[in-house]
């Protein structure tokens, strides 16, 4: 397959997947952000209630944090009628320090929407998405999930009426956090993965849901006309009373009203 073809397939897949998931993507983004914002207070509460000593606090938090995020995200999604499963059965064989810390978050959540499977995963290393999905490691299930490239060919070979029979490409929501804890979400479609190697059709940043909110207020909506009653007064007398009405060296005002500025 030529590089140009490959590019076209990626672009088409991107459109399809973004469109399929358009109803749930904002919910997932907000769920992750919300979980991230309440986690520190949750951890404080746990440490306080369980009377965990200071020296263990960091270790406990590092272990609990990914699990808590996953659980809170799952709860928020459920309250928005988006059902997901926590992925627990896929063990990663390589248990070095990095993987050990990230095992729970990287196993993430799994769901299905618009007949398409998706997973919500934390980026492998903070601030290091760099167009790379977390590798599947030795997990056969994970490798299978990542293996998408044959589907495209199958779908292309079939007639339109049969196309629904072929499973759709699996997708991945990949989230990452900045040093200040801000959430950034990407939507990706894996092509292939084994061990520490991985490739994707695309990894595309998701726009923050706020930027998609429709403007609810039009400038016309705030235009209410102020009513004013006009009096029959000669404006010239007000503007230049001293020049208009000088008689015998005295200033008078024909309107009979006090000079406005004398009040002050």
């Amino acid at each position: 397959m030529s590089a140009e073809n490959d590019q076209n397939i990626s672009e088409q897949l991107k459109r399809e997947i973004f469109e399929d998931f358009s109803p749930i993507t904002p919910i997932i983004y907000i769920a992750l952000e919300t979980a991230q914002s309440i986690i520190p207070d949750c951890l404080d509460l746990i440490i306080e209630k369980c009377k965990i000593e200071n020296e263990f606090t960091n270790k406990i938090c590092a272990y609990l944090r990914p699990t808590l995020i996953r659980s809170i995200v799952q709860l928020i999604l459920k309250s928005n009628n988006v059902e997901t499963l926590a992925i627990t059965e896929e063990k990663i064989s390589s248990m070095n320090d990095d993987w050990g810390r990230l095992i729970l978050s990287n196993n993430g959540l799994a769901g299905n929407y618009a007949q398409r499977n998706y997973r919500i995963l934390k980026a492998f290393k903070t601030n290091a998405i760099a167009n790379k999905l977390p590798p599947p490691g030795q997990s056969i299930k994970k490798q299978k999930y990542y293996c998408n490239f044959h589907l495209r060919q199958s779908r292309m070979k079939l007639f339109t009426e049969d196309i629904e029979q072929i499973p759709k490409h699996n997708a991945i929501y990949l989230w990452d956090e900045s040093s200040s804890g801000s959430i950034f979400l990407y939507l990706a479609c894996p092509k292939w993965g084994k061990g520490n190697k991985v490739s994707a059709y695309f990894i595309e940043p998701v726009e923050h849901p706020i930027t998609l909110l429709e403007r609810l207020i039009s400038p016309e909506e705030i235009t209410e006309e102020l009513g004013l009653e006009k009096l029959q007064i000669d404006l010239d007398n007000i503007i230049n009373p001293e020049t208009e009405n000088i008689q015998d060296g005295e200033i008078s005002n024909e309107s009979g009203q006090d000079n406005l500025w004398e009040q002050n």
Binding site: P40, S180, G181, I210, L226, L235, I238, L260, W261
Partner: protein, 344 residues
């Protein structure tokens, strides 16, 4: 020019400062030396007719303007509370002079109209209570957003004058004036900013007018009280507790922004003040906004329309066929003076 004419030095100074000229710059334009201008302004000497014409040309006013009796009684009001902010004395002076000029025009034109009855309480209560009482006095229910704050205030007799856009560093200031024999509150507002910021600035000034008449305590504490008043006035405590649904996140705050027409940052502060979110949650929400540049400029799709004051424009429209006629009646050679260009 008629005999016995008086050229008021303070008018020359007013026109010069409104145009942003130094005495030396004006002197160069007119073809005299700087000390001559200083003498005219102090009324130690009277400029000749030609020089008055030169000054008029250089400043955009008509010669007749310099013969008008200068007005008094326009205090700086809350403008003087801003001394600690990053506003230069020159900018502050310019804002004051622009507002004073419009006040002068207002005083002339308002004589031909019945202005809305004033409904603004003077209260010595805490900001939260003052805001509740003020909403009630203005006829606004405690559980609804104020859709058009500028209109609401004008309808209730508060004068709102627009400052020129280039004075955007001065958000707003307020003072009490005499108009049609009555003491009235006036807010001068710079409109070159986002709609939600303008609304908050105006509400802040309402706080000063309601609670700080006469001024009390330190400038810093009055400013804080005015901010607290603005928050409570635009986002009443009783309803906000229901409006912020848990868990609070940026998206729900953005939706509330569109409903209550205040900035997302003001909403986060309010949620924090009312203990709806913890300090840490507020910090996190602010850092999320910072990471996306939304603390400097909130997303465009959430822009709140700018509410334009109507009273001043309606006075002009009610009395004049064209902006040019208005300008010439007020002693200006065009409509560029003060914030008038914004209105006509």
């Amino acid at each position: 020019m008629s005999q016995g004419r008086i050229i008021y030095g303070s008018r020359i100074e007013q026109a010069r400062k409104l145009t942003g000229l130094t005495q030396r710059e004006l002197a160069e334009k007119v073809g005299v030396n700087q000390s001559a201008i200083a003498f005219y302004e102090k009324e130690k000497t009277t400029p000749s007719e030609d020089i008055v014409k030169g000054i008029a040309e250089a400043t955009g006013f008509l010669p007749a303007f310099f013969e008008r009796i200068p007005i008094d009684g326009f205090s700086k009001g809350s403008l003087s509370y801003r001394a600690y902010k990053s506003v230069t004395a020159k900018e502050e002076d310019k804002a004051y002079l622009n507002a004073k000029l419009l006040y002068e025009h207002l005083g002339i034109m308002a004589k031909s109209f019945v202005l809305p009855k004033l409904q603004l309480p003077i209260i010595r209560e805490r900001p939260e209570t003052s805001a509740e009482i003020t909403r009630a006095a203005l006829g606004v229910s405690p559980d609804v957003p104020i859709n058009n704050l500028t209109y609401l205030l004008e309808k209730n007799g508060i004068i709102i004058l627009p400052l020129p856009v280039f004075l955007r560093k001065i958000d707003a200031f307020s003072t009490w004036i005499y108009l049609q024999d009555d003491k009235r509150p006036l807010i001068a507002e710079s409109f070159g900013k986002s709609g939600d910021r303008i609304r908050f600035s105006i509400a802040h000034e309402v706080g000063h007018l309601v609670m700080h008449n006469p001024p009390k305590s330190s400038i810093k504490s009055m400013e804080k009280e005015a901010n607290d008043f603005a928050s409570a006035f635009l986002m009443p405590k009783s309803i906000m507790r229901n409006e912020f649904t848990q868990p609070v996140n940026l998206f729900s705050i953005a939706e509330l922004k569109l409903k209550w027409r205040v900035s997302m940052q003001a909403l986060i502060f309010r949620a924090k003040t009312l203990r709806i979110i913890t300090d840490r949650q507020a910090t996190y929400l602010f850092s999320q906004m910072s990471a996306r540049g939304w603390r400097i400029k909130e997303p465009n799709n959430l822009n709140i329309p700018v509410e334009k004051p109507q009273l001043f424009r309606k006075l002009i429209e009610g009395l004049y066929d064209s902006p040019e006629k208005y300008a010439s009646d007020m002693g200006m050679s065009d409509t560029r003076g003060a914030g008038v260009a914004l209105l006509v």
